[in-house]
Amino acid sequence: MLLAAREAQSEGRGVAIAYVETHGRAETEALVHGFTIIPRWKIAYRGVTLEEMDLDTVLGEHPDLAVVDELAHTNAPGCRHARRYQDVEELLETGIDVYTTLNVQHIESLNDVVAQITGITVRETVPDQILEQADEVGLVDLPPDELIQRLHEGKVYVPEQASRAIDKFFRPGNLTALREIALRYLAGQVDHQMRAYMESHAIPGPWPAGERVVVCIDADPLAERLVRTGRRMAAGLDAEWIVLHVETPEYATLPEAARDRIARTLRLAEELGARTVSLPGTKASEEIIRYARAQNVSKILVGVSHHPRWIQLIHGSVVDRIMRAAGDIDVYVISAARERQHTTEPAAPEWPGLFSKPYLYSAAVVAVAVVIGALVHGVWAQANVTMLFLLAVVVTALQWGRGPATLVAAVSLAAFAVFFGPPSFTYTMADTQYLVTVAALLFVGLVIGTLASRTREQAQAARSREGYMAALHALSGELAATNDLDAILQAVGRHIAATFGRSVAIFLPKGETLEPRLMTPGFPLTENERAVADWVFRHGHSAGYGTDTVPAAAARYMPLKTAQRIVGVLGVQPAASGPRLNPEQRRLLDAFASQAALAIERVELAEEARRGDIARETERLQTALLNSISHDLRTPLASITGALTTLADHPPADEPVRRELLQNAREQAERLNHLVGSLLDMNRLEAGTLRLRTEPGDVEDLIGASIAQLGEAVQHREIRVSVDPKLPLVPMDFALVTQALVNMLDNALRYSPPDAPIEITARLVGNEVQIRVEDRGPGVPPGDVARIFDKFYRIQHDGAGHGAGLGLAISHGIIDAHGGRIWAANRPDGGAIVAFALPVRLPEPSGGLPPQAGDPDARGAGRPAAGGDRASQWATPGRAS
């Protein structure tokens, strides 16, 4: 990490050590030397002084790159965040890059695996998302034996802690296992990045894999393991994953601890990157299956039941019920004892059409009531037998609704009359009255049952509304989180496809025409369909399938409308078979469309605002330019005019005075010439009219010519030149790069004391030649390192000559035009470094041999005329930044 940081620093980035634990090792301390080290924050806690990273100072210093050791660290009480990784997240948010380290056993999703292998539960874990967000993850790999040896030598911990640590944790077996986990994890990450890269570079396909995993949890302690397993499975499948908890009526009766556990598990799932959903419902299995179907879930993950066997026999287990109803959804059951996955084959529904024949079942209920009634007839009072039928009516109404209940009531009345009435239908008046009582009772039962079933329906409606709200919420959350048009379109497409199970296309205007920007597979795009979409875009009304306009179209098209305008068109293909959208779903689709429209408009407005910013910035620069011109042009002109008018009108008798006036006028004229030259260069760079005349150039010659151009300014200055004799010729526009180097040298001369040497070094580094100009001046104020290439930037300090603040901006523009890099940094021992690098085109394999070190005659002899080849010249016009 420190070596990488050093490399970054040598590239001119501002590196600060925010927190590095040297463990008292001399080796590490040597590596830390030479960096800006931000002092730690000391916290007194229970009589001990703890040292933590000083987050606010790091934020205040705002280095380009902060080095923060031990990501998994838990902060002392009193810090802003509980954990160091949260500090790091804050640094990242403010644009500070971070290099950090993390041991594999601290990765959240591997936590239980590590515990299983090593027998030690690591408490300080870091969410996997942090690792996933990392631009780069490097593995510091060491064979276990070597690591143990390093431990014994005290190179990892300080010696007094070493033996204990070795005994407890660092056994060869443990280390080998941890090493394997680390290697596997990283391989998985690399694979993931590769796939992400491929997906992002092959638009419009491949469409993200349709896999979606639902992990069902309850208050069981197994839940955490379920979540971790779910994460690994989802990562392996590259699938979206959802952690679902069903709030059954039992939930309210759970002890506080159990409810806490559920909340904790859900939080853990969020940390691991899952979407969490809590659904109210009476029966967990039904809710899970309903949710899974609505969300197009492909895999369900459940834990085995923790109830005793006898309870399962009576109530049936949730797992069994889920498996029975799962249909083509795969169900994975995680056992409690050891983590092992049982894959159940997709179970066929046990009783097909179970709920589609409620009338048959209600008839059966009456039959049961009759049988029981027959058994107890004569034993129980007649009124109680009536109650039996009343019960049947209420149960039926509750279970299957009003229709079957009515049937049951009628049949019950008849059955009662037939089986339990007076024999041979010899009804007396009293008996008839009795039948009326029974009928009234049954009617009451029917009413009760109906009310109950209506409540049930309402609950169901509320639940489905809630499901829609959740879907909408999920979409709007995702839309709000991104500012990238493609990501927004992808999110909209994905959510609509998942919620409604249909193919989607989104059309956006491009110039005069409407282009499909996103299409899920299977969307029937034809010329005809495009025409419909176009019509929708121009008229702002829905059209296509299921509407009054072009109902023959294959898909339904709706405008993406905001208050101001129509930003695009959404096409939704109806399901090939199955129900049409109900009104509720259509409303939801409309809501999706308006969310999408708002998000798209937001992106477009942001883009417009950005353009406005650029325009304002240009205007600001123009103002600065005018100010600069009026000041920097008039000042020397005033001196010249003054000197000349003095000489003409009031010639001083004194010869030295005359000479001084003339000398002054001459210097000011040169300054004026220099300024005009800079302005012209800047103008050419910015206008993009600069045409590079690229030819192979000799770097030594370049440096010599640049020094020569400075003329008298370098007469009495010491300039140390060190040029690597192995340098190849570099393709460049010699005159322009000379100008760039002259400006850099001019700057170094201007900002350093007259007796301090200026050093120029040229070296071949990798595929580029780096030329550095180093001075012994005051250096660049921290935080301004990147700004010194801005136009009109001037460092305020005594003794600085008058520059227009254009020199380095011109150098920057010239080097940019060459496809090179330019940067600045401060020397650790005082002074500034300004350096640039130009790419070297390596000779073709058939070309001359590479020049030999120390043999000047071999320099570039016989090398092919790489840069002299007209076709290889840079064609891009220069552009100043």
Binding site: L680, P696, E700, A735, R859, A861
Partner: protein, 230 residues
């Protein structure tokens, strides 16, 4: 000094420049003739028969390159180009067309006078000088001998020819194209890297500090010049 001094024709449309040159050069004993356009200048060149022409590149009717080309059709009179920065291509074209040297505006009068002297001396002595000396560097063309501070320097044939070419035009700028044609012959116009590599090798042999050349000076984007060091 009357009308005995060298005759100088200034072709420049800027009255201010002509006035300044008239004042400065007359004081040095030159006879000044002026032209404000290319046509006027070409006519004057034929009638005045100047010893030197100072030619501005940015003329209103014809560009300086074309003027040089037309002059060279019938005259070998030394031509000194005046140009502003950022017109390197025109500058090189004019030099390749036969102009003797160039000066970038603004320039000091001392610089101008030095260049004028070099140009006129070359015109006056067209024959090869047997020995060219620049400071410690001596090129003895007759004996093919190069010495620095009296020490003989061994050069390859190409390096020698290159140095000789620069020496024979000592004090004047030689464009890349001119050097390539003189040393390697026609057809090598694109061999820029050949030239750069040989200049570098030459410098490592004759220059005391090759990174800050003393004798063989680079004119960025234009060519090289052997500096007349006194």
């Amino acid at each position: 000094m009357g009308d005995t001094g060298p005759r100088v024709l200034v072709i420049d449309d800027e009255l201010a420049i002509r006035r300044f040159l008239r004042a400065s050069l007359s004081a040095q004993g030159y006879q000044l003739f002026e032209a404000a356009s290319a046509r006027e200048g070409l006519d004057a060149a034929a009638t005045v028969r100047p010893d030197l022409i100072i030619l501005d590149l940015g003329l209103p009717d014809l560009d300086g390159v074309e003027v040089t080309r037309r002059l060279r059709e019938w005259s070998k009179v030394p031509v000194l180009i005046l140009s502003v920065r950022g017109r390197d291509e025109e500058k090189i074209a004019a030099l390749d067309a036969g102009a003797d040297d160039y000066l970038t505006k603004p320039f000091s009068i001392g610089e101008l006078l030095a260049r004028m002297r070099v140009a006129m001396r070359h015109a006056a002595q067209p024959a090869d000088e047997p020995v060219v000396t620049a400071g410690d560097l001596t090129v003895d063309v007759a004996r093919r001998l190069v010495t620095v501070g009296g020490r003989e320097i061994a050069l390859t044939p190409v390096e020698y020819t290159l140095l000789k070419t620069l020496a024979l035009h000592a004090g004047r700028v030689m464009t890349h194209g001119q050097l390539l044609r003189e040393v390697w012959g026609p057809g090598y116009d694109q061999g820029g890297n050949l030239l750069r590599v040989n200049i570098s090798k030459l410098r490592h042999k004759v220059e005391p500090d090759p990174a800050r050349p003393h004798y063989i000076v680079t004119e960025p984007g234009v060519g090289y010049r052997l500096r007349m060091v006194t």
